[in-house]
């Protein structure tokens, strides 16, 4: 029983990390229609930068905040390269983000080497109903809850958030009113970068991170985001938590190397269901 609880809490924590990554993907896709395959890279940059800054003597908190800002900057840079030229199609931008993700490998190996890195984070564990749970897990869950609440307020209540939603809904109308979808897209990329960076900063103490950890992260983040059609952060959160818990249970009771298979199988199943549903709708519309 205590082992199950332990797996559940750590699964929820890891799922929260996936959810932050997925929310970045959703934010970027909602505004720009671009599926950003460099999203996992932001988490790697965030985690690695936080580790370096902590090693350099920056106090905890400041180092993580700076790392999130660096990841936001990386997001902005990816946005400029992928969508900065007016008229770039989302499909072309997708390929550019994929290329930038691979290019980032070289930069990451040059800066941080190819060994996995980690840092203590919120050290120690607490015992809950006999289960030893790392304090960092609770930190990840708490921060994710706050971030999702802030995102809901930002997109649902703030003027800038509504302008971002407007660009996603009707870029032409937005332009006629002076809202620049290109600039808003860059804001979305920066926000997506920061969210990805936050995921990396929070997950690195739980799972050591290396230059190619982005594959695992983007696979899970994408699977979660696809569940909500890449447009609904709340559904992506639910998907990410499901994935995190499922993978934790697979690793705990089975074989850790099957974790990614769970994510891939789920993503495949969702895509097949969505595709069949869309085909049925198209057939219905054609009648």
């Amino acid at each position: 029983m205590s082992a199950l609880l332990q797996y559940l809490v750590s699964g929820i924590a890891v799922g929260c990390g996936f959810a932050l990554l997925a929310s970045g993907l959703v934010t970027i896709h909602r505004v720009t229609r671009v599926v950003n395959f460099a999203q996992g890279m932001f988490a790697v940059v965030g985690g690695m930068t936080a580790g370096s800054l902590l090693s350099a003597g920056l106090p905890p908190g400041a180092a993580e905040a700076a790392a999130v800002a660096v990841a936001g900057g990386a997001g902005l840079a990816v946005g400029v390269v992928a969508t900065g030229r007016r008229g770039t199609s989302p499909q072309s931008a997708l390929i550019v983000t994929l290329g930038l993700g691979f290019l980032a490998y070289a930069a990451e190996i040059m800066i941080w080497g190819d060994n996995p890195r980690s840092y203590p984070g919120l050290g120690g564990a607490v015992t809950v109903f006999g289960a030893h749970v790392q304090k960092q897990s609770f930190l990840v869950i708490g921060v994710t809850a706050v971030v999702f609440a802030l995102l809901a307020v930002f997109f649902g209540r703030s003027y800038a958030g509504k302008a971002l939603s407007a660009c996603a809904s009707n870029p032409y109308a937005a332009r006629t009113m002076g809202i620049d979808p290109l600039r808003m897209g860059l804001v979305a990329f920066a926000l997506g970068g920061a969210l990805g960076g936050l995921a990396g900063v929070l997950l690195t103490p739980l799972q050591p991170i290396s230059y190619n950890s982005d594959v695992l992260l983007i696979t899970n983040g994408f699977a979660a985001a696809v569940l909500g059609g890449l447009n609904r952060p709340a559904v992506a959160l639910a998907g990410a938590l499901t994935l995190g818990v499922a993978e934790s249970l697979v690793a705990g009771y089975g074989e850790a190397s099957y974790q990614t298979v769970v994510a891939l199988a789920l993503m495949l199943a969702i895509m097949m269901v969505r595709a069949s549903r869309r085909t049925a709708l198209q057939e219905e519309a054609a009648r």
Binding site: A163, S165, A166, S169, A173, T176
Partner: protein, 241 residues
């Protein structure tokens, strides 16, 4: 309106020698027009004449290959097909109309739109995508008014709307012009509606201005009467100034 009156009015929209190209195709060829302060001006023409290209050039969405668009004051657009932000509420749609003036005090206060278009007040919390065509057109009007414009460009007021709804919206335009001095450039396929409502007009065909003048004069002319008003018998149009 007479030519003398037109000259006396300060121009809000001035388009001169405008050329718009899509690749090798020329959509607008040396187009020129003016809209004076407080003036109602019609631009009529068939499908594919270049009307929406002209609208987009005025709105700054399209970069012309040559010529110039000078706006002396704030100009807002009521775009073709309403162009709602479907997932946002009516209130949010209206508030975003003030984006260019967002830092001005009270710029996002939608109350002034509900005063002019009271029908919208009851719809404020509805999703714009769930409204009827007429209601959406009214939201598009309100959104343009949120910019506190000196002129509005209305692209296809009547498109897809029932005649009664169109007549109601035309009444709103007339009232806004009369009571607030709002200049209007009405771009329409429905020549009768446009020439009834406006004092002056232009005819755009195949990317060129083919005719211009007072609405009554245009409506009486054989080209416009035959092509747009169903022959001379249908040209019983009066200027609405």
């Amino acid at each position: 309106m007479s030519e003398a009156n037109r000259g006396a009015r300060e121009a809000v929209i001035e388009v001169d020698g405008l050329v718009v190209r899509y690749g090798t195709a020329t959509a607008l060829d040396r187009v020129g027009l003016t809209v004076g302060a407080g003036e109602l001006v019609a631009l009529i023409g068939p499908n594919g004449a270049g009307k929406t290209s002209l609208v987009n050039a005025i709105a700054g969405v399209l970069r012309p290959a040559a010529g110039r668009v000078d706006l002396h004051g704030r100009v807002a657009l009521v775009p073709e097909g309403r162009q709602m932000f479907d997932d946002l509420t009516v209130e949010d749609n209206l508030a975003l109309g003030a984006w260019r003036r967002r830092r001005a005090k009270g710029a996002r206060d939608t109350g002034r739109v509900y005063e002019v278009l009271p029908q919208l007040a009851g719809l404020r919390r509805r999703r714009a995508g769930s409204l009827s065509g007429g209601e959406q057109q009214m939201v598009a009007f309100g959104r343009a008014l949120m910019a506190e414009p000196d002129a509005i460009v209305v692209d296809e007021l009547s498109l897809g709307l029932a005649p009664l709804v169109t007549a109601g919206l035309a009444g709103h335009l007339r009232a806004l012009n009369a009571e607030r001095g709002l200049a209007v450039l009405l771009i329409e396929q429905n020549a009768r509606l446009a020439l009834d409502l406006c004092g002056r007009g232009y005819v755009l065909e195949a990317g060129r201005i083919r005719a211009e003048g007072g609405a009554a004069e245009l409506a009486a002319g054989p080209d416009v009467a035959d092509a747009y008003l169903g022959g001379r018998g249908g040209a019983g149009t009066e200027a609405a100034t």
